[in-house]
Amino acid sequence: MKITQGTFSFLPDLTDKEITAQIQYALDQGWAVSVEYTDDPHPRNYFWEMWGNPMFDLKDASGALTEVLAARKAHPTNYIRVMAFDATLGFETTRLSFIVNRPKDEPGYGLVRQEADGRNIRYTIESYAAKAPEGRRYE
């Protein structure tokens, strides 16, 4: 399967040139770009590891791409995403988030159903990969 989190996951993987264009768009809006990575792709794993702080003072998209490439080199089998943060009053939140690296093989998730009283079911979504300890997934 292919995990479809992020803004462009239904499209073919973005090339480095296409990634740079999206970063440039974010910078043009005044947003701060950052890079994050993880080997735990649970849909509610909100806190991926930060590849450094958001690049608040960056003006040039190619500088951010350098960080994407460095994160890819360090974590080639992980999910890596580019985020853009908007500090404007009324937003103060992420405005864009797209995946720029993913494992070659994505085993996906199991759905665990615990039958409860009545016809209630308690659902648990479990990533097959995340059953291995952190850092030893997707090897």
């Binding site: 995990i3 803004t7 264009a21 209630n120």
Partner: protein, 479 residues
Amino acid sequence: MGSPADRYKSGVMPYAKMGYWDANYEPKDTDVIAVFRITPQDGVDAIEAAAAVAGESSTATWTVVWTDRLTACELYRAKAYRVDPVPGNPGQFFSYIAYDLALFEEGSIANLTASIIGNVFGFKPLKALRLEDMRIPVAYLKTFQGPPTGIVVERERLDKFGRPLLGATTKPKLGLSGKNYGRVVYEALKGGLDFVKDDENINSQQFMHWRDRFLFCMEAVNKAAAATGEVKGHYLNVTAGTMEDMYERADFAKQLGSSIIMIDLVIGYTAIQSISKWARRNDMILHLHRAGHGTYTRQKTHGVSFRVIAKWMRMAGVDHIHAGTIVGKLEGDPNVIKGIYSICRDSFTKKNLEQGVFFDQDWAGLRKIMPVASGGIHAGQMHQLISYLGDDVVLQFGGGTIGHPQGIQAGATANRVALEVMIKARNEGRDIWNEGPQILAEAAKWCSPLNAALQTWKDVTFDYTSTDTADFVPTATAS
């Protein structure tokens, strides 16, 4: 006006003379201001008609009463202070009326509306009356909770950024069993939609009781989340005959782990405020379907404009509101719809007469409502939808998903690919308004569901004249 003794002499007196008209009145920052479109009966003076509206929507009755003198009546009287002819519509007037804050109970849409749209709409000296817009003072806004979740927090919970959300309403809207209904939900979510939605009249009929629907829909939501790695949701409609029933249904939705519930506008303002407080307490996104609004929002001369309903709903506190598509099958002049979207999404909405917005409105930090565009839209219009409506909107393709020739999943995928490819192109600096069809055609080469969608619906448009339009047109000014 003469002496108080003359003013309070028994008998009838023109409203304008009773103190409901004051051309020199300067509205206070704390006043509620309403602008009405009035159509007086033949022979009724516009200023007297405006004063009558002010009177009947505040303290007046048809005759003088001495008991006014037991009160600070001058404060309680609403004041009409401005009457302008409506451009291009002889016999109609925009009348501006200011109401002191002392007239209203804190945090109550029911109280506000009982005055502003209470008796006055049946008043005989007027042929017709329409509430066009309101300015709500910051002091009054701060007594309302507002949306329980808001756009920012909704996106953070869903972990979805940078694009409109995608939804669909399950069809047919009536008759499916719970199991069949859940099938539609699962297929659409797995195919790429973020949300599926109950329709307004899906409550608890004999073909599908509400518990059955909730259980099968949550199976579909969780199964689709596991299949995609994304947060998914289904708006479970908790609309019912009593508030107690609604709370029971909302509690069950919460117990099942749903992230969102839904209500219909016809439940009424007080029920909406009650379920909104429940939603804030229980971390639930609250979707509002505006069932019934067309009965009083659509005709320009009589009723309440939808922009006013949108303001009341931002105060009452809903997270989603159906607000028009412009290009779809339901009423929607582009300018009027843009004004309504501004009211939902701005921190500060600027006066814009061409868009029907009569006042600057500081939203005082009330959270933002995510507008929902639903009704007769399809993937081939994606460039128009994004250009008109922006990113913070739920685009709902019901027929455009479920009616896809290759199946529901393919329909959902077509919409998601069309959306992502268009956002990507826009961000890259392409002119999507003009190049949109070409951008879609390029993507259709590698995405066969999109290709099939474009072939099926390529010529479908709903090009009818809007009934609800703004009366102000841009005029060229000498520079």
